[in-house]
Symmetry: C2
Subunit: 204 residues, 2 copies
DNA sequence: ATAGTAATTGAACAGTGTTCAATATTTATA
DNA sequence: TATAAATATTGAACACTGTTCAATTACTAT
């Protein structure tokens, strides 16, 4: 039996999260089981339930880590350059999103594969992490809207983000049919962004 | 024991598919288990494995039915009207897609929740069902591209389809943060389509 | 040294997909 | 018609899953 004072509650939580992250990385969401985590950290399965309410609870936490990592990548990068046009910056952001999806494929997929039981909602802090991501795109859309048009700008950010995401998702899960000429997804997101923004500019 | 000649192989397959469809409708993808299906059709769990290779195999078949139903809805509807503009038709198509996602929520979600085991690919007939859906949108994009630009048109169709899908998905799974002013997703897809097409028109 | 508290355990429960020897039923043959 | 061969159906068994909780162990305060 692991000694009670081997690790504090916080340490234990850290260990479980770290182990879970690594398991998802290696074997995907499907490989993440309570017994496997327990084995990896050298504790019994029951211990996990002392720290987390349920496996769903743990999954939400892991997803939170993934959202943090994604936010890190997007905020510490070169997609807010004032020397480049907003469209260039947006394209770059889409590219970074795509690269993230590839590099952290299993974690990224888990973000959308894992669903809370019917009727249960993600906690507020989780929602906020998502909102924070959208805001980065809202910023880049600023030049195209007046201050009075903030809701519209927010909508545009959501639409564009979801669109880029949809392209990445369908492509990454093989649910988009290939074109003979094989246009790659970066081109698709780029094409979408270019024309969407061109359309917005045209109106004003 | 069910008598061997109670139902033919084909009848049995039909029964299993029908029962599965209904289970997904009632209890979602999560409720679809071999034992549950067996109980519903009055056979033993093993029987399902005489007809289908695995539960994954069965799931792909169910997804095929969903794709068929979606194709039916889109093809037998009013989104190809020559009296309306292509943009209007496209917006209508997006709206129909969204309505389908709501009406057959569980089946539609299963389309993206269910993933084949790592490395396994969906059968060719399945890929073709997807390709067929994209073609309906390709048709609507025809006025904006010359014959030489077919690959580009195909890419535009894929990008737009995936984009609309992404918006529906993030919204339907609660993974898109609400805007204070609460713009609804039909507006989002409409806004996206409008501007994307406006952008394309501008270039030519 | 003892009593009380808290962490840890792992067996148990009700599920899951899947397999496969045994059984029941039908068909073909003698 | 009686028997043999072939096929459909079964359900127990296996190795899993998330989750619970009484029992055990370890630590703390008295």
């Amino acid at each position: 039996m692991a000694r009670r004072s081997d690790h504090s509650r916080d340490e234990l939580k850290e260990m479980i999260l770290k182990a879970s992250w690594d398991i998802v990385e290696k074997d995907g969401f499907i490989g993440l089981t309570a017994r496997r985590i327990a084995k990896d950290i050298g504790y019994a399965p029951g211990t996990i339930y002392n720290i987390f309410k349920s496996m769903d609870d743990l999954c939400v936490e892991i997803n939170g880590m993934t959202l943090d990592k994604l936010h890190d990548v997007l905020s510490k990068s070169d997609c807010y350059s004032p020397k480049k046009s907003p469209v260039q910056n947006m394209k770059r952001m889409a590219q970074l999103y795509r690269e993230f999806a590839r590099e952290y494929r299993a974690h990224w997929l888990m973000l959308f594969t894992h669903a809370l039981p019917e009727g249960q909602k993600a906690p507020a802090w989780y929602q906020e992490k998502i909102a924070r991501l959208f805001e980065s795109l809202e910023g880049l859309l600023e030049p195209f809207y007046t201050a009075r048009q903030l809701p519209k700008r927010k909508m545009a950010a959501r639409a564009l983000w979801a669109a880029v995401h949809g392209i990445c998702l369908l492509e990454e899960t093989g649910k988009i049919p290939a074109i003979d000429d094989q246009e790659s997804p970066p081109d698709m997101t780029g094409y979408l962004i270019e024309n969407f923004i061109a359309g917005i500019k045209k109106k004003t």
